[in-house]
């Protein structure tokens, strides 16, 4: 059974021309990681907030199904969501320094987080875990204020606290974007290791495909609030068919790429009021794309919302 199951989720903000998230369905099983890939304005953060019951009060949420651990949460109130976030859903945010109160020592904040989750007695275990993820003498380092620790260390603390309370679902929103590349790969390795040990379901949100490549089992690509392509990691990264996914893959500078070959042109444009959200930037665009909003259809090894890609896939294969 899926740990997290969502069907047809749509979120609209007041005054928004289009929904921020539109018709998204997803499932994650325990022990699996789903990566949601998208750039600014794709709706990825709204999606994460909706899954943790953290949407702004003014946002309107519609879904035909929203379940965590088999519990129907469509009608759950603020109090139930707050409980869930203490015990069942953990969050890791992008900016390690903004995740902590700058005026209190780390140890005080960590203690608060642990007792709020009902795990006050497990501080020694947390110290062991911190030692395992690279802290020498964690008790001494946690006596510091947040700004006295590096971003990589702060993110290690966030991860250790998020994991040790044994949540069912871990949501990580751009957990490594603020970090150096070598620290990034260390943090991702730690996340992967702890996730498989704890057998929890993880939703990782990132604009960075190299991050996705390292941790995801499944990948979902969002554009303009819609899922434009989804599938297994290897399929999406290796044989994506949607022009947006392909463009994203080609935009990433690579060490083995030919130097000074210009990367493809993909300047963001305004989202159209109707039709495929990617149409204004798309090289495969046909008239229908501007009229009809495409649904996900199986093309090669993935599901993609792009009828023109389906016909060109037929021709090339």
């Amino acid at each position: 059974m899926s740990l997290l199951a969502v069907e047809d989720l749509t979120v609209t903000y007041p005054g928004g021309r289009r929904p921020a998230v539109k018709g998204v369905s997803l499932e994650i099983e325990s022990g699996r990681t789903l990566a949601v890939v998208g750039e600014s304005g794709s709706g990825k953060t709204t999606l994460a907030l909706a899954l943790a019951g953290l949407l702004d009060r003014r946002a309107r949420r519609h879904a035909s199904r929203l379940e965590i651990n088999g519990e129907d949460l469509l009608a759950a109130g603020r109090r139930r969501w707050r409980q869930l976030r203490r015990t069942d859903i953990s969050f890791i945010f992008q900016s390690p320094i903004n995740s902590w109160n700058p005026t209190r020592t780390m140890i005080a904040q960590v203690r608060d987080a642990m007792s709020a989750a009902g795990h006050a007695g497990r501080m020694p275990e947390l110290m062991d875990l911190l030692a395992r993820v690279g802290f020498e003498d964690p008790e001494r380092r946690l006596a510091d204020l947040p700004h006295q620790l590096s971003g990589g260390m702060l993110q290690r603390v966030s991860i250790a606290v998020a994991v040790i309370i044994e949540p069912a679902l871990l949501i990580a929103d751009e957990p490594t974007s603020a970090l150096d590349s070598t620290v990034q790969s260390e943090i991702l390795a730690i996340l992967g290791e702890l996730r498989s040990e704890a057998d929890l379901a993880m939703l990782i949100i990132s604009h960075d495909l190299s991050v996705v490549a390292r941790v995801a089992d499944d990948v979902m690509v969002l554009y303009g609030g819609k899922v434009v392509e989804q599938g297994a990691r290897a399929a999406v990264l290796g044989s994506a068919v949607h022009p947006y996914t392909r463009g994203l893959l080609d935009s990433v500078p690579r060490l083995d790429g030919d130097r000074k070959i210009l990367l493809p042109s993909m300047e963001p444009g305004h989202l159209p009021a109707s039709g495929c959200p990617f149409a204004p930037r798309c090289r495969l665009v046909v008239d229908d794309c501007r009229r009809v909003e495409p649904d996900l259809i199986p093309i090669n090894d993935t599901l993609a919302a792009c009828p023109p890609a389906a016909s060109s896939a037929l021709i090339t294969t």
Binding site: S181, S210, A234, V252, L255
Partner: protein
């Protein structure tokens, strides 16, 4: 190639609450006319301090920084000499670098006004040219920064930097705050500018693939000094310093395996010997006792490692 910018044995120490921090130690590097040099390193490696020293925003404690053979301090004292026109900068956060109360046209014209270039009609003409050069739609001229996307705002910063036709553009992490597809656009634009105007660039980033995409030569910095230096392809394909090898293995390999393991994290950088020892997988006793010098292994490719010639034969992960 004649050298445009030359750093020789540059030192910079900052005094902090926790004692002095040697941000830059005996750093030497050169940039030739029209050359793109990529400076790669992690937070705290001193790469942004190098940018600030070159821009005259900080003063070195020791060593020399020469531009066209003349000391940067002298250039700056002689306001007529035009160092601030010849060396321009683009920074990481596109919006923070722009006055939010000014329109795009005003922002692009500002350097021309400050340096008294042309009358207002000529400046208007020049603003249109510059906006076209950085592929900004002319209709954006009356927008305020908050009405721009991150990529558009960074183009405005680049247009401002180009206004005075500098010989050297210092780019400090110019794409790290941008979305992937916008990053690619800005990198393309910088390449185009380098090619069409043979403008030299000091391109600073923590990402080796980004640096590799743009640079003729790469300098890898660790703990305040250069640990490897060479032609772009050489450094990324045949890294000879263990730190560069770590950067290569941490670089994005999208379709390949899941990358390196987590290794060990150590915060303390030793104050003598090779600074990389605590993180180094191949360190020997000599490394802690004695810091290696930056030695040339083959023409134009140098490494600060006692084991560099072994490592260059074995390659990454060998």
């Amino acid at each position: 190639m004649t050298s445009l910018l030359e750093l020789t044995g540059v030192d910079k120490t900052f005094v902090t609450d926790r004692g002095p921090v040697r941000a830059v130690r005996r750093m030497s590097m050169t940039i030739g006319e029209g050359e793109v040099v990529g400076l790669v390193g992690e937070s705290g490696s001193g790469k942004s301090t190098i940018a600030n020293l070159v821009l005259g925003l900080e003063q070195a404690d020791g060593g020399r920084i020469r531009f066209r053979g003349r000391d940067v301090g002298e250039w700056l004292d002689d306001e007529e000499a035009g160092y601030r026109q010849a060396v321009q900068a683009v920074f990481q956060h596109p919006f923070q670098a722009l006055d939010s109360r000014k329109r795009v046209g005003w922002l692009v014209a500002e350097p021309l006004v400050i340096h008294r270039r042309g009358n207002s009609r000529e400046r208007g003409e020049r603003v249109r040219e510059l906006m076209a050069d950085v592929h900004l739609d002319p209709s954006l001229v009356d927008r305020y920064p908050h009405q721009l996307s991150g990529g558009q705002a960074q183009r405005v910063n680049i247009a401002r930097a180009l206004a005075l036709e500098p010989s050297l553009l210092v780019c400090d992490e110019p794409v790290s705050a941008l979305d992937v597809s916008v990053q690619a656009q800005i990198l393309n634009l910088l390449l185009e500018i380098n090619r069409e105007r043979s403008m030299a660039m000091l391109f600073i980033s923590h990402s080796l693939p980004v640096v590799r995409h743009l640079s003729d030569r790469i300098v890898v910095m660790y703990a305040g000094t250069a640990v490897e230096e060479g032609p772009g392809g050489e450094v990324s394909d045949r890294p000879t310093h263990p730190y560069t090898q770590l950067l290569v293995s941490a670089a994005s390999v999208i379709t390949g395996d899941r990358g390196p393991g987590r290794g060990t994290m150590r915060e303390a950088i030793p104050s003598e010997g090779c600074r990389f020892v605590p993180r180094c997988p191949v360190a020997i006793d000599r490394c802690s006792a004695e810091e290696p010098s930056l030695d040339e292994l083959q023409e134009g490719h140098s490494s600060r490692c006692w084991l560099a010639s072994d490592l260059s034969r074995r390659g990454v992960g060998g």
